[in-house]
């Protein structure tokens, strides 16, 4: 394993210090915790807290700032943060209008965030939560853990964050977040797996001509593997599964995210996006806004995911609202 690190055990700690050193105008670290909060404090609005395992940078600390998150909790690599850390974040960002937790749908994340929410409620803090489950690679069922939360989570941060910035109440911000969740779908693939620093070797092995379809963002294997094809063909497969959900129709307006998994050249993401646009155009689906880049990564994994979000007037307004954070600037 070759990595640009000092000690495996101190990666998360050192990364957070490096982020606060780079972006003091946006974020500061809660003393003694793996939590980044807005350096200017809460301007008196509903606060948003998200987080999860580390290794998904710029998620989630990179989205702390005006118009998105108020706090981000960083767990160990690919490991949900613990309840005490989330609880500290909630306490720190609460400005009296309540706190919305944006949780990605993983067993550990849900358990740890729920325990933190219980602790905060005991303290009299108004806490609500939403669970993002946008990954269509995983079948939804009452009997399983259900779909994972992946890159679509960034649209929840953006849009719910803008609604909170606009002064909406906690129940309203939650309603907006849930509307995003109901209308956002994603699917990803990998050309090469990632290497968790503490594990020291790739989380799965692929032959030179193989790709893994339906991967998540933790190096967990996907739904199946197959021979590699050209990127148009791969994008067709991912998009096909997303469109098969039946929520995007001719005449609809969507926001698109072509998200890199951390080790993918932007050049390739743009090539993929070119075809995504062609397919959407051919189906009469209007692209209102497109984001191409590394938003929800999986360490050094090579691959990408496609996310579609169906917009209505309200979602479009909040999507287009300004945001000013380390990794998401839009005016």
């Amino acid at each position: 394993m070759k990595k640009l690190i000092n000690k495996v055990d101190s990666i998360v700690d050192e990364m957070l210090d490096g982020m606060t050193a780079a972006f003091p105008q946006y974020v500061k670290r809660l003393e003694g915790f793996n939590v980044l909060v807005r350096s200017g404090g809460n301007p008196g609005k509903v606060a948003l807290v998200s987080g999860g395992g580390s290794g998904h940078e710029p998620s989630h600390g990179g989205f702390v700032g005006r118009g998105m998150l108020d706090g981000a909790v960083a767990g160990e690599v690919f490991t949900s943060p613990t309840p005490d850390q989330v609880y500290e974040a909630v306490k720190a960002v609460n400005g009296g209008k309540g706190v919305l937790l944006v949780i990605k749908n993983y067993t550990g994340d849900v358990m740890n965030f729920e325990m933190a929410a219980d602790m905060a409620k005991d303290e009299g803090i108004d806490v609500e939560q939403v669970i993002v489950a946008d990954d269509v690679a995983v079948e939804n069922s009452t009997w399983t853990t259900g779909r994972r939360g992946i890159a679509g989570t960034v649209f929840v941060h953006k849009i719910a964050g803008a609604s909170a910035e606009a002064g909406l109440s906690l129940p309203e911000v939650k309603r907006v977040a849930e509307k995003v969740i109901a209308n956002v779908r994603s699917m990803g693939m990998a050309v090469n797996a990632c290497t968790v620093p503490a594990a020291g070797k790739p989380s799965f092995e692929l032959a030179d001509d193989e790709i893994e379809i339906g991967i998540g963002i933790h190096g967990e294997p996907g739904t199946h593997r197959e021979k590699i094809s050209d990127v148009n063909g791969i994008a067709d497969k991912l998009l096909g599964k997303i469109l098969a959900e039946g929520i995007y129709a001719a005449g609809d307006e969507v926001a698109v995210m072509v998200n890199g998994m951390g080790g993918t050249p932007l050049m390739e993401l743009f090539v993929a996006n070119r075809h995504v646009k062609e397919v959407l155009d051919s189906k009469g689906i209007k692209t209102a806004r497109t984001y191409v880049g590394n938003y929800m990564t999986s360490l050094d994994m090579e691959g990408f995911s496609i996310t579609l979000l169906k917009l209505d007037d309200e979602l479009k307004k909040f999507l287009n609202a300004p945001a000013d954070t380390p990794a998401f600037v839009q005016f």
């Binding site: 490991t79 949900s80 005490d84 067993t107 995983v138 594990a199 190096g219 967990e220 739904t223």
Partner: protein, 207 residues
């Protein structure tokens, strides 16, 4: 159980740490490559918190549970943390456990894990080791075995439970995303549960 909760948890910690790479490797196959790392980190923190003066079994289990909860993360943190804390609740003030107390510890830990994780037997989780172990423990006690004998039966049942996890599809936890591809792999959580039970048995037999 004779006294010595500190020594017993020390042995669990030692065994978990010794099996860190195995647990991580099992998790690499069907999960996210961190189970051994997280559990070892958690138990290292537990051992930093506990001292040989910790003799109240309930208070010590509670302290260990709180530490696991705040240091392990993932799903294992809340699940093991809750198991230890629930076991601590019903052993408060005790410095020794009878076999009947141990039976109650099993049951309280299982109830805590099920409440937190919303899982049942057969979903390829730690419960597939612990529930059969608990049942075997109770049955052997009923048949007249002593604590050590009943724990032998429990460990044997846990080992069979771990083997059984190779044959089933995961429907809870991160391995559930693999569907049928999870078949053939042994569950890391069931494995760490088995290692814990074997450490408890070995501690009791070694006294």
């Amino acid at each position: 159980m004779p006294g010595g909760i500190y020594e017993c948890i020390s042995l669990i910690s030692e065994r978990i740490t010794a099996n860190k790479d195995l647990l991580t490797e099992l998790d690499r196959e069907i999960g996210d490559s961190d189970h051994g790392i997280n559990m070892a980190r958690g138990f290292q923190a537990v051992m930093e918190k506990l001292t040989p003066e910790d003799t109240d079994i309930g208070a010590t289990l509670k302290k260990a549970g709180m530490t696991l909860l705040s240091k392990v993360g993932g799903a294992s943190g809340p699940l093991y943390g809750t198991a230890y804390m629930e076991a601590g609740k019903i052993t408060a003030g005790k410095t020794e456990l009878t076999p009947e107390d141990m039976k109650a510890v099993f049951e309280a830990a299982i109830a805590g894990i099920q409440k937190r994780g919303k899982a049942v037997e057969g979903e390829k989780t730690m419960l597939d080791a612990i529930i059969p172990a608990s049942t075997a423990f109770s049955r052997r006690l009923y048949e007249g075995a002593d604590m050590a004998g009943a724990l032998d039966a429990a460990c044997e049942a846990a080992r069979e439970g771990v083997e059984y996890t190779k044959t089933i599809i995961a429907t809870k936890g991160r391995a559930s995303y693999l569907g049928e591809r999870s078949i053939g792999h042994q569950d890391p959580g069931a494995t760490s549960a088995m290692i814990t039970l074997e450490a408890i048995r070995d501690y009791i037999k070694g006294k």
